[in-house]
Symmetry: C2
Subunit: 275 residues, 2 copies
Amino acid sequence: MTYCVAIKLNAGLVFLSDSRTNAGLDQISTFRKMIIYEKQNDRFMVLLSAGNLSISQSVREILQVEQLKDAGGGPPITIWNAKSMFDAARVLGSAIRRVHERDAEDLKASGVDFNVSLVLGGQIKGEGMRLFQVYSAGNFIEATSETPYFQVGESKYGKPVLDRVITPETPLDEAAKCALVSMDSTLKSNLSVGLPLDMVVYEVDTFQSNKVVCIDHENPYFRMLHDNWGKKLREVFDSIEDPMWTGGATQVPLLTPLTRNQPLRKITSPEEKLI
Amino acid sequence: MTYCVAIKLNAGLVFLSDSRTNAGLDQISTFRKMIIYEKQNDRFMVLLSAGNLSISQSVREILQVEQLKDAGGGPPITIWNAKSMFDAARVLGSAIRRVHERDAEDLKASGVDFNVSLVLGGQIKGEGMRLFQVYSAGNFIEATSETPYFQVGESKYGKPVLDRVITPETPLDEAAKCALVSMDSTLKSNLSVGLPLDMVVYEVDTFQSNKVVCIDHENPYFRMLHDNWGKKLREVFDSIEDPMWTGGATQVPLLTPLTRNQPLRKITSPEEKLI
């Protein structure tokens, strides 16, 4: 598996990916899941990929040369001349369909699903930043202010902290920190996600970024974040009152009369009926 | 779906379950996933269930009367006379197999998997506490001091906090708090898990428990925990330094020279080759 997350904020975009690929448990390798496309002063895009590696690698290769017919009779549309991120996402969808035509039937014959999951985000001069999640069928959805992030791969472990922190107003560096905490929780609980990480932070309307970093287990910032998050989470946990069952003084009793649902009745003999 | 967690500590056992059952998104109901079996001064057991509700309800009903032949020629073994939790888990496995014989073929013909996942924990006089996870095939595994908890259902959202906090030495009330935090994270990120919750805390060698509570959205303790965890998590998050890309003074730089992995090279033109 894999874990990738991309966040769209008013201030810019944050992309983070791990680099573990596994086929079973005894075949683990490092493959980077992020690609950065930059044409300075014109466009900046980042692609994140999860799913079958043979498919995602083919899609990435083909995407470089994929062309869509322009309905208006202009030159064919590529990711390098698309006038909108929407068109760039269409080109990506088309690249996926090309790999599907080539491989899907034979994969199916081998019992392998055509499974790929991509996130494409960035900005093309003339419009605002946009972020898309692109599915195996080449269709896609776009992030909005209500849902400003997309995850692909092992997304569940790291979702609660994103849900708690991220809004469109979140500053860029804070969102980068949140993405790293989300990744840290995932690394802790799932073997199929591993270091090094790739992270890119893009500031709105700059059409380039030098905030590109590869984070391994020796990275001072990530180590500090990992240690502090674990330690302080524990402190917060300890600071919350334990549940008090009976007696003692508490403002927040655990046992209170309920109107609708009652505590479970115990079954105390074989003859007793289930409720 | 469902989320249930059971934790085995030196001091006792903690069981927590939600009560949402859904078939698709527009058919949501409340079904409690926990059953408590108590024969005072002799045995105390709790069963948690996830998976297909028709299967788990049948298993629970049959478990009450299920009998295993005793290899030593004694009376048939039931959950009410079993001399060990291991035998009780075998009776549960047998009940699952009985439902499998009755239903599995017809379920398969309707395209439905025979899917049920159970946790059985407790203590029978004469031995220590034990905790088992029982699978659809009736086979089971037992919790150990290295892996002192089992989850069934939507387990991923709530796993990181368990991994951070729970050891066999954790006090009972602290473990109950941890189970509730784990549930709170799951409730926040997954629609298929819902209130009310059922929680039972069992103290070692008591063979009964009065710490049985049903927690709904008005429960003062759970509300306090939910609010405080969210607020303080946010404070911890804010207290951790944001990543600093360049300049400024920091003890924990994000950008450092790497030996093995280099930051991703950008692709800057259509002709450029992928790495």
